[in-house]
Symmetry: C3
Subunit: 322 residues, 3 copies
């Protein structure tokens, strides 16, 4: 375990909040949990007796399932509530819904919501830990954790790496969380994609912005692709999918510009033939399936740290009262 081992937070809300030491602490635990994956008996008794409430007010399958598996591996009970805010609350405010969930004696709330800032808002309302599983276009911090854990798994350290994020940066909470995480961990970040989706103003965050994909990929140690979300982007942002693929899709020719040891990441689901050539997605350079596996262990680490910190705080309160 690192000398700078540290976790004193009630909540896990954003990467922007976290220090490098906190990120390293999460990774150190994720490393340990990773070693349990191949055991016959994978379940750890760590969170036995805890109730974890998965509050998914925005459709999600893989993040929801990954959190469910992570929680169950730690022996917690998981209750999943899905549906849009209105059907859940019958006119009740998010504040009241959250307070009610806490009153049901839950120990942790995992929340996905289409409103940026909703996880932060909830964390101020309830005493129990709140974990952000994606809040609008703001952050998707556990995705950035698993992405960076995957880079760390491959390269040992992110220090000095050149990482290019390619695609729809403007609407992407994944990009936003990764921009913070990569830089905190010492990587240099380049953003690439159509000017409509990758505005120059992102340079304020200390990153490079290129609208020419070849320039962006050259000498990169890794490229993180973002999913082109047909359902969200209108024809205002780019003329057609075919046009996007032609201009910005990752094909073998473009992948050849990356450094020899470079890897390709994608949060999934992959649109084969759109943002990435299908064979390339299955090539040795692709670490897409490793990312899914790392999503389990990184989420186990976050659940463990938040639930344990909460238990310690409770213990401290109890002994202070005695």
């Amino acid at each position: 375990m690192t000398d700078n081992f540290t976790w004193n937070r009630k909540d896990f809300l954003s990467i922007e909040d976290l220090s490098k030491d906190e990120l390293e602490t999460i990774f150190a635990y994720a490393d340990q949990f990773k070693q349990t994956l191949d055991r016959t008996q994978k379940k750890l008794p760590t969170l036995r007796g805890k109730t974890i409430l998965n509050l998914f007010m925005e459709p999600s399958t893989r993040t929801k399932v990954a959190f469910e598996i992570a929680a169950k591996r730690l022996s917690a009970d998981v209750i999943t509530i899905t549906g849009d805010a209105s059907s859940l609350s019958k006119g009740e405010s998010l504040r009241d819904t959250a307070k009610n969930i806490a009153a049901l004696n839950a120990d942790v709330i995992i929340t996905r919501n289409s409103h940026a800032g909703s996880a932060y808002y909830l964390s101020k309302i309830v005493d129990i830990p709140v974990i952000n599983a994606g809040d609008g276009a703001h952050e998707h911090p556990t995705q950035a954790l698993l992405d960076c854990f995957t880079l760390r798994d491959h390269f040992g350290d992110l220090k000095g790496l050149n990482v290019t994020i390619l695609g729809d940066i403007l609407f992407s909470r994944v990009a936003r969380s990764n921009i913070w995480a990569l830089q905190k961990l010492g990587a240099s970040v380049t953003l690439a994609g159509p000017a409509t989706l990758v505005p120059k103003k992102f340079e304020e965050f200390g990153v490079k912005v290129h609208h020419d994909v070849e320039t962006a990929l050259k000498n990169s140690d890794a490229v993180m692709l973002l999913r082109i979300q047909h359902e969200r982007q209108s024809s205002i942002h780019f003329p057609s999918l075919g046009e996007y693929t032609k201009m910005f899709g990752l094909n073998k020719k473009r992948a050849a510009l990356l450094k020899p040891e470079a890897i390709i990441l994608h949060p999934g689901p992959v649109n084969r033939g759109v943002e990435i050539d299908s064979q390339l997605a299955d090539s040795e350079k692709s670490v897409i399936l490793k990312q899914a596996t790392h999503g389990i262990v990184c989420r186990m680490a976050v659940l463990f740290l938040c639930a344990t910190a909460a238990a310690n705080n409770l213990m401290n309160k109890i002994s202070a009262n005695e």
Copy 2:
């Protein structure tokens, strides 16, 4: 534990069926379960190996989740089936659906259904315990349990308390269950609300009926608000929400008519600014969140008593056969 400790029922179907001793027995167990809520290890091994089937044929989030948490705290496995009756059964009768569920080797069925009497009907069909989580406009007995448990928690005893139920009595299974429970436990009940929603004929149940909210609230030890359900009530019952709030909404001026120690209950979700003033809902008088917590322990008690009685009956049958 009370001297009159008693539980010999297969099912938990309605408050109307129960004696005062049976209600006290449930509360005595709920008291014990309440003490486990703050433990680090909250899970009890009591129902380990039992399969509890949550059959929710009417939409519900909070009652469903509360039963799920209660069952998991007792280490039972919970399977939840949702959907309206038709999609569940593909033309199959409720009787056949129930018999099939019992044949799947389930140990307890928890049922919510839009038809009054459906829980009673199911209980006659299957040998395993049936717990009523709301049957049409008939009863919602676990809600009355948690409401009365909350009053008992605050006042020690319900004997001699004046409790006013305010709102849509006509369509409310919560009101119906509470009228039985409160009176059995020794409280005097007053019903209040618009004449269209609170018919005088309710006096047959031994309660007072007032259509003047101020008279109803005066000298009350507690007021139980009911949710105004926009979706069910038509304009026949009252002219508008604004009109309802003006005439019957609980505001600070009206709350001042209550006794000094009085408390305010609401089953949730709360329509702030409709049936209750928003600040009042967050005031010290409000025990709304305590109700949610008490819903867990009261449901643990009901699950425990029904499953244990079933296990004892099975043991008796086995020894009788030997």
Copy 3:
């Protein structure tokens, strides 16, 4: 346990694949699991720590729930994903969905899908066991297991039994799996129903085909009814439900043609008064509810065998590497 005890398969995909010895192996384990059903403590620690992923891309309640109960009885964790293929995958291929699920560190995938061959296809893609819970009109192998287990439970052995399958054979994966299973276990199979739903070409499978229901039922030891699925069959296949019932419905008069000890099976949900007379469905001849119970133990056996074979293979790989 049988001398010919054998299970070396990664997957459980179809009855057609299996040998008689493999079927007997499953039944031998199902026998053992059946003895645990009446215990106070029904849960076995066998699959503790395993994660079983229920991937139901076609609507299902009872098969899904039966697998869930079976898995939980073996102490596995169960994650259920429902929804049609498109909503699950957001344009992702089934192949990518499956690979992702395996990457989430799941131990077994149970799959229901409207495409014939989908379970087989998945099994080639992922390293973990795939269990077919129904693939289009191809097979529903666990249904045939529970049906044959029920016959075996009643008759001791299937050898020499005459079994008639009555109804919509053409569209029925249940019929297809049972034709294989019954014959492998030594029974003679007769198919009966309207010529439009029971084509003569089925004789290629070694069965008899009758369009005259009385001839088909005479001297049968068992009749397996199939559900008439209003939603799938058009008026092309038979004129009306009433007409079907008159010509092919099982009524008391027709049931009298069966052998005295004969039993009636139905996979459910039963359309009372359509494919079977309502009183007959509740008569002593009917084993419909036993089938539901046997569905639990047969699925426990399949889960146990596949998960254990996978664990053994893993152990062998590990020791080979040492």
